[in-house]
């Protein structure tokens, strides 16, 4: 009943952080941008081995959700699925299509992924799993969920209502597309377009391929998946912002002008204080949205309100990360404006995440639609 991460969740975050610190993620990002996905997929596999993608997949398909992860509440109080003695969700609940994701743990993981600028369709793969779980078609689940859980299957996922471009359509093993109320599996894609963040490789997916499902339940599942994607994008942005701030703090303590560290100048301090403020107040919005989404419609909160919570997190985290990027660039000076410095990986990602899965304007409208 507290709005705090427990020890196990903290340890999960720390473990991921240690693991990614030891891997050369920056090198993998640069390679990914140059069309060499090998190093990135290697990091992806280590994330899967640490259980990140299993969080999105039910136990029966090789995952850890909703009851496989010990950090999850077991008593249903948190809005989690009621869990039977055998650890499986009762049939009636599953049939309602409301199996919750472990969104708190997942959000925590994505903050860490953002801190390390993890490349690839991480958000989209988890969103695809969320979509499948909501559709709850055993054939579709069997076909994709086990591969997602073990890290062997990268999914590019596009909802045409959110924009025409698929992230990493070329690198992914599967391309899901939502077109109106149809879920398509695209065999191909158009040419990869140059993008602001070279590590985010964008292309239009083909729209005339296998129809996996159709009907109003697809639209509902897609809306849920879009919420999951927006939440995880917000979490990732938060991590990006944290990293930009941390690296800039290190820099302003080393860099001297007029004989002193520039970090002793009030103008510099105030920019960094503002960056911290934005991140500190965005963070609880991200985790509150995770809590709301974990409960789904079962909570009194209501779906419209939950969607507003996710949108609020997306706006706040996106703006905080972008603000941190601007501050990082300004305080690094011309050095920060070079591609060579790894800082560029986060600066460009901050800009891209700002409009991915919900522009600031669209999210603000959703916040007001959900406001009491």
């Amino acid at each position: 009943m507290t709005f705090l991460l427990d020890d196990e969740q903290h340890e999960f975050g720390r473990t991921l952080d240690r693991m990614l610190s030891a891997a050369d993620v920056a090198g993998a990002v640069r390679a990914w941008g140059a069309d060499d996905t090998g190093p990135g997929r290697k990091v992806w596999q280590r994330l899967a081995d640490a259980g990140v993608f299993a969080l999105a997949v039910p136990e029966e398909y090789g995952g850890a959700a909703p009851d496989g992860h010990k950090g999850a509440p077991q008593d249903g109080r948190c809005g989690e699925a009621p869990v039977g003695n055998d650890g499986a969700a009762p049939e009636g609940y599953r049939a309602s299509g409301l199996l919750p994701l472990l969104t708190v743990e997942m959000s925590l993981a994505f903050v860490v992924l953002g801190c390390h600028a993890m490349p690839g369709p991480v958000v989209e793969t988890v969103a695809a799993a969320a979509l499948l779980r909501r559709l709850d078609d055993p054939a579709l689940n069997r076909r994709w969920l086990p591969g997602i859980a073990t890290g062997g299957h990268l999914v590019s996922y596009t909802d045409q209502a959110h924009g025409p471009y698929a992230l990493d359509a070329a690198a992914a093993d599967t391309r899901f597309v939502i077109m109106d109320d149809r879920l398509l599996c695209a065999a191909g894609h158009g040419p990869v377009q140059p993008s602001l963040d070279p590590a985010r490789r964008l292309a239009r997916p083909a729209l005339d391929d296998e129809v996996l499902a159709s009907g109003p339940e697809v639209r509902a599942a897609a809306a849920h998946a879009a919420d999951v994607a927006a939440l995880l994008t917000a979490a990732q942005a938060l991590g990006v912002g944290r990293r930009l701030l941390a690296d800039t703090i290190t820099y302003v303590q080393q860099r001297k002008q007029f004989g002193v560290a520039i970090g002793s100048f009030q103008a510099v301090k105030h920019r960094l204080a503002d960056a911290l403020l934005a991140l500190e107040f965005a963070q609880p919005l991200v985790f509150a949205a995770a809590v709301a989404l974990a409960g789904g419609e079962r909570r009194a909160h209501g779906e419209r309100r939950t969607r507003g919570d996710v949108a609020a997190a997306k706006v706040a985290a996106g703006e905080a990360a972008y603000g941190a990027a601007r501050t990082a660039l300004q305080l690094h000076g011309a050095v920060g404006y070079t591609e060579e410095l790894d800082l560029s990986l986060w600066i460009r990602k901050a800009r891209a995440l700002r409009s991915a899965w919900g522009t600031p304007s669209a999210c603000r409208a959703r916040v007001l639609a959900g406001a009491p």
Partner: protein, 413 residues
Amino acid sequence: MDLEHAPEDEEFRHTARAWLTTHVPVTPLPSLETEEGFAAHRKWERTLAADRWSVVSWPEEYGGRGASLARWLIFEEEYYAANAPGRVSQNGISLLAPTLFEHGSPAQLARVLPPMASGEVVWAQAWSEPEAGSDLASLRSRAVRTEGGWLLSGHKTWSSRAAFADRAFGLFRSDPNADRPHRGLTYVMFDLRAPGVTVRPIARLDGKPAFAELFLDEVFVPDEDVIGEPGQGWRVAMSTAGNERGLTLRSPGRFTAAAERLVALWRRADPSDTALRDRVADAVIGARAYHLFTRAHADRLAAGASLGDGPGAGLGAHPGAGGLGGDPSGGLGGDSSLNKVFWSELDIALHETALDLLGAEGELAGHANDSPDQGGWADGWLFSLAGPIYAGTNEIQRDIIAERLLGLPKGRR
């Protein structure tokens, strides 16, 4: 991780809501910065106190309900949602009382707290001086030892509520030869009607005497009105300053309620103006962020983050940078600086957006008949403008954030 309250706490919410529904005046009270309004608000404090709602977090022996921090926050949410009057006793309750709980003697607690809880004695703060605002350590007003107490002399200013209040608390220099400017200060309480005190009200932007200057000429204060050890006033005062910037002065309930009123206003206004719509959304997001930040903070305290043991200790002086991200600094009140900058800017944004939504009617203030809210938003805007100035300017707070939370080197201001 969860955001649900315990069932007992929800029960407490319902009890508070029921009481407020019955007792909150239908017609808003006149501004508490006027003589008439001050008296009306003092009477409201009595009403609150009669049913032990004036100081819910205090122990029962002083008129409280021994409410946990979680319940205090719930009460504040309900209080502002009910559109209940502003608290004329706020200086005493949220600034002096926590200091007393931490540093006061049992005799002082027994003597000072009950009349504070009932509104019988309303307190003003006497921190600032003409030469000492943000740089509080440079204050000059002095306390000179005399038989059985101290003689206060000097000039205090920007003393909120002092125009109509009964007593005041503040810092005085008792050892002019101390080696550092923040040493040799003593924390005292004194009577605003004692011989030697002259109160000169100062009109704020709207002309109301919201604060005052105090001229002190050998004002006698008995030893029993010194809080903590003489000469240790700085240390004593710092806990109070943390409270002022942190939770107790600006509880999230106030902004949550204001954001809801703003959304209602926006729904009645022109929804095609997307620039205004985005500002409304940002105010809503900000109010929610502040609520959640505070919630995480309160839960961390309840989980046993280090604090003093006093009953008021739960309401201030908490460690760390707050939120869910742990504690990058080890504390020293940097988190209350985060709070202070955030709520003060949020408050202005909320009110400016409301005035822009109101258009021409936004210009109408102070019980204007034509204004849909009787000038409430305009008055609130005026009040919000002071936020970044008092309780330590936001510039000073950003320095504190940078130095204590981000670990940046000290430099020239």
